[in-house]
Symmetry: C2
Subunit: 439 residues, 2 copies
């Protein structure tokens, strides 16, 4: 866990009202909501529309909003016990106790909210209730299946499995609609934010680069299809990189790549053509003809290469390949916008630059690569948002439709968009938002 | 050089009338023609239409055919001196001496033939003539540029550069039109020859997997466009494989892969989902989710993995990726047939099987991967055939058009197609054929 996040979480330790997980092959991504620090100390003593941090909806008095923050955390899947300990430390069950025993809290603020549906203390329920999935955390990714027994055994929590692709799409749609300055292009070291017109969002291609890569054509809020993917993804970068460089972490490997020169190992067009290009077919002398191809002709062993150069070649190979396959799929379906998410990207400049160049090169400038600030948490956000399906009535859906530019059940407000979001990729950032609750 | 080829070549050592090169980043591919052994000892003592191994064309008496074989050889580009020594040993210049000094030979048999145009001994010409490209070998690939000076210095030969893509296409068209049982499918260990209807050959996608990969849409004899490619090719397999396994040759790496199990290092869908599949989107539990992804979560170093398993994962990753990108390009242009060539394939069963499965998987059975027996020599064959452009008159082109099902200037004849070709991937094979010459 990041230090800054740890400090932050302590402020409102008991206010972590809900949590969702995306348990992938390599990383566990977590999203949790905490009411804002100003409301931490006061929300239990107030009620109705005057409650600090809570605004009554002028349109429907049955609903209120709880101000707070969405937090983003990651753990390595192989260290899943750290994740379990973190959840345990957050006293989700303890908090549920308070909710259930406090009429004040139950009175129109938090209880009955879909956000708390999974936080009921098992001590207040019998085993049958538990068996009926009453004590749940929404979870997506393959690990929601694989580690279901572990969560039940260690925390008494049932992982309520949410479809992986649905979660990715819901998370991306939320970010693209609700969070200002979420999407941006990156070319030649230049980051340019792109404001998406909500009415013109669909269709787009969502490319989620996790351990592997999924490519999803998104046509609407819940209308999508996984059209492609590739096994050459973040797990390949990290796995191969670990074997080739002995580095200990993904971040270390990324840092190595920053200092490397891919020309040392990659065979360039100029290497084959004796320094000249192959202009007739648009290949310059610096175009990579064969990734790692130079290793064939040199009498060098692995130890003779710098880890930095290997990391750089590997990153470029994988980023370029993802960009190319994504473009080919966008082309196939006539999609002009390609959003890249997933933990592989990590806001890493060279990764984004390579993907952008690949999309630009293959599309001859017709298609654009776009990136998301909360790239790694699409699935976890989507799982988080799936709570609404269980706890919100039809009238809520109607309310949501009146805010059609916002995602269902989660609102990002604040004083204008600029101040409403705070994301720092170093500490995974957070999003200030208001969560709709049923009174 | 292969031993069997060496033995073969000695039989007709002086009969090597012509030679073309494809000098790639990793390998040099050579095609040369020798008149058949029966004509070796006799061709110099006969003339006219009675000459052994030579048939007069009934359609145009200005042209005859010389029986012989096309031979295929490869060298590693880093050992280019072996290639130069081989050419030197073939006495191309010496042979040219004979030609130029022998009126018998010059009389309607070999001399003036485009096939010999590059074999004139520089001793019979002054430097100006040399500078006029009179003493040439047709060569394609980047090395035709890179090593031009070396060939001039060592052999006094000018490499006449032939466009790489043109050569690949010309070579593929020749093989597909002239050589029976050249193309085949490979699925589940089953090799099925496909007879191509010459009138229905175009359009098709040609995927040449050399150090890098080129993908060319072929619409006609000389109508084509390089539409895509990838840097993840044969050089990547060999280069990465060398670094990861310390193997010494491409063949050794292929042999290792034959004995390996990719599940040891690749992260499968079942590994993420706890043994189950993700059937909703068509991913079985054995689908590779992340190539080399398992290396992330295991506390193993490179030395802890078997070289065989690494080679297998690498081969599968690259083959699958090539198959996928090829399919996406075929789809883009509505091409039903994809021919895979280039030295990466090497008739290796698992490589072909993986490419076939990838094309089949992504196209949902709509597209088919086809392979070529002389896969590695498309460029060299194409360069070989380009001699005709310099030495043949317009009347030849007319003649060729009368044999439109055959490639220009090169005829494969023999008693029926089956007996006319002999290819054994182990010794690179040869093709028995008749070469048209100008009387």
């Amino acid at each position: 866990m990041e230090k800054s996040e740890e400090k932050e979480s302590k402020q409102c330790e008991d206010e972590v009202s809900h949590l969702a997980l995306d348990i992938g092959g390599t990383l566990i991504k977590m999203v949790y909501f905490s009411s804002s620090s100003s409301s931490c100390s006061t929300s239990a003593q107030k009620n109705g529309s005057e409650k600090d941090g809570i605004d009554a909806s002028s349109e429907n008095l049955n609903y209120s909003f709880l101000s707070g923050r969405l937090h983003f955390l990651k753990f390595e899947t192989k260290n899943i016990s750290e994740c379990i300990n973190f959840i345990s430390s957050k006293h989700l069950q303890h908090y549920a106790d308070v909710l259930c025993s406090s009429s004040l809290l139950m009175d129109g603020i938090i209880s009955n909210s879909y956000l708390l549906r999974g936080s009921v203390n098992p001590g207040y329920r019998d085993d049958d209730a538990l068996a009926n999935d009453k004590n749940i955390i929404k979870a997506t990714g393959g690990g929601a299946f694989k580690f279901a027994d572990l969560f039940k055994e260690k925390l008494g929590i049932v992982l309520d499995k949410v479809d992986e692709m649905s979660s990715l799409v819901a998370g991306a749609n939320f970010l693209l609609k609700a969070v200002h300055h979420e999407a941006f292009t990156y070319m030649d070291g230049q980051k340019d934010y792109v404001q998406i017109d909500h009415k013109d969002l669909y269709p787009y291609l969502l490319v989620n680069v996790g351990s592997g890569v999924s490519m999803i054509k998104v046509d609407g809020d819940s209308k999508f299809e996984r059209v492609s993917g590739t096994s050459i993804g973040g797990g390949t970068f990290w796995g191969m990189g670990k074997l080739l460089t002995k580095c200990k972490s993904f971040d270390e490997l990324l840092e190595l790549s920053r200092q490397g020169n891919n020309k040392v190992i990659d065979m360039l067009v100029g290497d084959i053509y004796g320094g000249t290009d192959y202009a007739k077919i648009g290949l310059t002398s610096t175009t990579i003809a064969s990734s790692f191809g130079k290793a064939v002709s040199e009498n060098k062993e692995l130890e003779d290469y710098r880890a930095e150069d290997i990391a750089r070649s590997l990153l470029r190979m994988i980023s370029n390949n993802i960009g190319q396959i994504a473009y080919l799929n966008a082309l196939r379906f006539g999609l002009k916008r390609i959003f890249f998410g997933g933990f592989f990207i990590r806001g890493h400049e060279y990764t984004m630059d390579t993907i952008s160049v690949a999309v630009n090169f293959w599309s001859k400038g017709e298609a654009k690569a776009l990136f998301l600030r909360h790239e790694g948490f699409l699935g976890a956000l989507g799982a988080f948002m799936s709570y609404q399906k269980n706890g919100i009535t039809d009238s809520t859906n109607q309310l949501m439709e009146q805010h059609s530019s916002m995602p269902k059940s989660l609102f990002c407000t604040g004083n204008g968009f600029d101040s409403s979001t705070h994301a720092d990729t170093k500490d995974n950032g957070y999003i200030e938002c208001k969560v709709q609750i049923r009174n």
